[in-house]
Amino acid sequence: MIKLVAQGRGRGHSGSNSRSGTVDEMAQDSDKNEDARKGADEGALLPREAQGRIGHHLRHVYSKLLAEPLPDKFSRLLEELAKSEKKG
């Protein structure tokens, strides 16, 4: 959007056209950075993409923990608890 406006404004001033475009592009880039900051939580400076990568790896590592085989001791314990319930 900004770029299009810049090109329109630059018509007739062919000499300054590319330069004004560059400045606007820089402004656009800083807008993107601003968006990234707003997108992060509470004063975060971490870009959304980096957040996504961290999250992706976290879930991968965590899913491996979730997928670990469960020892029988837990189901045995629950079985005992349920039995004691019936008796009591």
Binding site: I54, R59, S63, L66
Partner: protein, 185 residues
Amino acid sequence: MKAPADPVSMQEELTALLPNLRAFARTLCGNADQADDLVQETLVKAWRSRDSYVQGTNLKAWLFTILRNTFLSERRKRKYEVHDTDGKLAQQLSVKGAQSGHMDLVDFSKAFDTLPEEQREALVLVGAEGFAYEEAAAMCNCAVGTIKSRVNRARCKLAELLGVESGEDFVGDAGPTVGVRTSAR
């Protein structure tokens, strides 16, 4: 208002949530055996106090709260070791990250282990277990803003340690990850 929890369905639901309880316990105490002890204690406490669980509310959140409180009170009695957050590890990682510009899952786990306990906890609750900030705040007995800030600091620290900020690609099997992630939910 509160229907007494049916023992059979309670047993089934607790069984279904065992992997999550175990994974969360591992997040809190680094030692696997201690984590299992913590899960067992949690199961006993949950069973005994199951009448205080309000049917229809989030059972996982209720169980995680019990597990967390158990961990904190046991640690006060020094039963559980304090998680090792040795600065040396962090240093090695940041050197490696800076040199290679990428990381693997082992690096990620090591970096994660260097985070302060409350940041690990917040990041796992929100980022891995998918709890809302509000839910995590209620579970950790703190303000929503505190949870947000902890999650954020954890992410920033991990990004710093692993060189993610630079935008360099990191070595991860992105394909399988998606599959595992889906099945874990």
